[in-house]
Amino acid sequence: MAKTPTPTRQASRSLIWLAVLVAVLVAALGGGVLWGGASWMPKLGLDLQGGTEVILTPQLQTGQQITSNELAQAVTIIRNRVDASGVSEAQVSTQGSQNIVIDIPGPLDDATKQRIQASSKMEIRPVLLETAAAAEYVGADGKATPCPTPAGQPYAACPTPTSPLNSIPSTSPTNNSDLSYVTAALGNAYENFDCNSLAAGTTNVAPADKPLITCDDTLTQKYLLGPVEVDGTAITDASAQLGTSSQGVSTGAWVVSVTLNDAGATKFNAMSTRLYGYYAASSTDPRAQFAFVLDGKVLEAPAMIGQITGNTSQITGNFTQSSAQTLANQLKFGALPVSFKVQTSATISATLGSQQLLSGLIAGAIGLLLVFIYTLIQYRVLGFVTIASLIISAALTWEAISLLSWQIDYRLSLAGVTGLIVAIGFTADSFIVYFERIRDELRDGRPLSSAVEAGWKRAQRTIYAAKTTNLLAAIVLYFLAVGNVQGFAFTLGLTTIIDIIIVILFTHPMLQLAARTSFFADGHPLSGLDPEGLGALYRGAGQFRPAPTVPVAKTASSAREAARRQTIAERKAAQAHQTDSNDGGDD
């Protein structure tokens, strides 16, 4: 209430904070430009800048068909993967009856390419046999070197015999871990299988009800796996976390926690009972293991060291934090119903020419100029505070967007640009609400410096309440929606936060300081805050009163009897043109 010199000090402190904030942002972005590959310009979205078109085609066995349901499911998963790095608003859709088209803004970076290409079909299969990969079985010259007949294994040894081997199990397998799946032909194929043949990213698929010969993703272990127990789509969540002992104390070791849906968990738990049986009998039995198979390669083959009963199981091992996280991501995002391969990848141009963006921006700029003119007419010199606030908020928004473009691949699409233009209205509204409140206080007869403080106190509440609804919309939509809507939420949240920063750290301090200048404090007609122009009447001694014909809008709270008496007193006072009828309200 302007009794202490605090407002001026407060004001300079706020302005210093703003300067620090701007400086920090500029320094961060400048550092990024110099060393981190950032740019002073925000990155543009698909519609404005163009990007890369990637066409994915499913890896199907002959005769297999992909259903539209599976395709839709794949689109959702791939969209999540593409968006995992930020809010670039990539477009994912289907082409024809089986392809998926991904349009990514800008060039395709390696990380995103990996995420899409590691696109993958996840299966959980039990392990039948496991051996170290032995590249010496097939030499570089193509000649198969003699290999030992593995002792105690139910198949004939290599090299490939001349007569056809039996490929039909002699006895019908009773479960997916049954070694009777390993026919002589399969065993021979397994023994001759070269892990290096998987290196070139070739397809390695087997029907879900047949065994699969494969290796782990480092190509050092070779596996013969039983039929699929649980499909990867049953994995609902996977996360890396620190393991806890049975007492709930952290063991300090990283584990990967996997959650399955109910149907998947039922099958998985049945498998766990069987596998744990093998483990209990002999902890080195390969059949105690099961494998997470991603695109035909074994991602991880943990042994079943306990019986699983719930939906969640934990994989322990020699994980580091990053290896646990990688596995968790692969398990979570790898659960496509069918695996896909990149068929083509091509650069595409913007759908909206840069011409259009430019014309839009010019038109917007003309509109903004009109806003400036209107503000100056409405608020006179005070309008310059609005204009300065808008310019600073534009600069801050630009910096923030460039910074986010660099850090989380935020991209400005056409919708984003219009969002920013509409944000001018939201931002200006904070000033308008505030200025109108100051004017109201002036009309009630307050001197400017106290009108600024009182007006601010009231405007603050309104501004926070209104901005909170915007922020709420931004946060909820950001976390619950995807694609363009998420991008919108991001822009809305960003501009709202910047609005609040500007009004607190710039507009209010500027007015506090302006109220000290004689130009504003004496109510120069051009200041936009002259009490005379605002209808308050000059009463002498630097005080103003409302016009006598105007009833006082506010009275102190009081009991009903008191209120009645006071009302009558006021009325009489007003009629008699007395000057001390009430105290002009209070907050």
């Binding site: 163009g50 395709l71 839709a72 689109v75 959702t76 859709s93 289907t94 082409q95 024809g96 349009d103 091509a346 650069t347 595409i348 909206l352 014309s359 839009g360 038109a363 003309i366 509109g367 009109l370 806003v371 209107y374 503000t375 056409l414 919708a415 219009t418 969002g419 233009i421 509409v422 001018i424 209205g425 939201f426 200006a428 509204d429 109201d440 009309r443 901005k467 609804t469 915007n470 919309a473 909820v476 976390f479 929606a481 995807v482 363009n484 809507v485 809305l492 002259d530 005379e532 122009g533 605002l534 016009a547 014909t549 105007v550 809008a553 506010k554 009275t555 009903r560 209120a563 009302t567």
Partner: protein, 338 residues
């Protein structure tokens, strides 16, 4: 310096010397809005919304190794079979042309392929056409709607807590739907294609509408408090005074928000002709105007109407009117709200 006319208008509105009776005229205003809403629903039901390629999918032509990448060739080729078709032309790898448009029947497919082949000077057999699915699929819509539902529920609770009355939440959200429905109705009537950018425009309107309502409601909350002069006015008058006192703010904000958007809409249209920017700025322009209108003519009267029946308010109003009868000289600024 004398007061400008607008300044005097603002002063008079604040002091109550001049009052526009928004609350009193609510029967008229709410009826107008109700009729408008019914019309909008009718338009939406019978004319329908023109969903774009992003929502419905369409046909895509790939023209590899074309001699030129002139976009207007593709535009003309498609428009020759469907004059109103929306066409997106993208240059692939610098020498290929990708043309995306609404789904075309086989006969038209052939025509367009031949025209594209002639225009881009390639053999028509090298041009492939395929159906593409929506890039804004049902899953995106579902997640967006879930988000909206959660937001509206939270906003409802938040406003009810802040304003201490759930009736403000109801009025604000009814007003929100009023604005969205109106904008959607106009959009359907004009027949513009709905693109993802349009949807973003709608979400912006949603945010604006609610924001504008909260600002005015905050003043209403203040004016209806007993200690802020509320004991001298009947409830409707307090609400009406708040709307009047914030009227200058409402006008200024609407002008400031609508000017840049209007700039894109009108100046841009002169320079460029219709384009995506015009589509979205049209929805925003209408949305901002209707958002401001509805706060004044729908939200506040609706709120007043909902609360006036409350026994506490009835009692309060009776007391105030009784006082006024005893003191006929009282000229309360916000008089005659009925």
């Amino acid at each position: 310096m004398a007061q400008t006319r607008f300044q005097r208008f603002g002063n008079d509105l604040y002091s109550g010397k001049r009052t526009i009776n928004f609350v009193g005229g609510r029967k008229v205003y709410l009826t107008i809005s109700a009729v408008l809403m019914i019309l909008c629903i009718l338009v939406l039901v019978f004319k329908g919304v023109n969903w774009g390629i992003d929502f419905r999918g369409g046909t895509q032509f790939q023209v590899p190794n074309s001699a030129t990448t002139n976009q207007s060739i593709a535009l003309d080729a498609v428009r020759s079979v469907d004059a109103n078709a929306v066409v997106q032309v993208t240059i692939v790898n610098g020498n290929g042309v990708r043309v995306t448009t609404d789904a075309l029947p086989d006969a038209e497919l052939k025509t367009v392929t031949d025209k594209l082949a002639a225009g881009y000077q390639v053999d028509s057999t090298t041009i492939t056409s395929s159906l593409i699915g929506p890039s804004w699929g049902a899953d995106i819509s579902r997640q967006a709607l879930t988000g909206l539902g959660v937001f509206l529920a939270l906003a409802f609770v938040g406003m009810a807590l802040y304003f201490r009355t759930w009736k403000m939440s109801i009025s604000a959200i009814v007003t929100l739907f009023h604005d969205l429905l109106f904008t959607a109705g106009v959009y359907a009537l004009v027949g513009f294609e709905v693109t993802p950018a349009t949807v973003i425009g709608f979400l912006t309107i949603l945010a604006y509408s609610l924001y504008d309502t909260v600002v005015v409601f905050d003043k209403i909350r203040e004016n209806t408090r007993e200690d802020q002069g509320g004991q001298k006015r009947i409830f409707g008058e307090s609400v009406n005074l708040a709307v009047n006192q914030t009227l200058v703010r409402s006008i200024n904000t609407a002008v400031v928000a609508a000017l840049p958007v209007g700039g894109i809409l009108f100046i841009g249209a002169l320079v460029l002709g219709a384009s995506t920017l015009q589509d979205i700025s049209l929805s925003l322009f209408i949305g901002i105007l209707i958002g401001t209108y509805s706060t004044i003519f729908v939200a506040a009267p609706l709120y007043s109407w909902m609360r006036e029946g409350e026994p506490k308010i009835v009692k309060h109003d009776k007391r105030v009117l009784g006082l006024r009868a005893k003191a006929p000289l009282e000229t309360d600024g916000a008089a005659a709200a009925r």
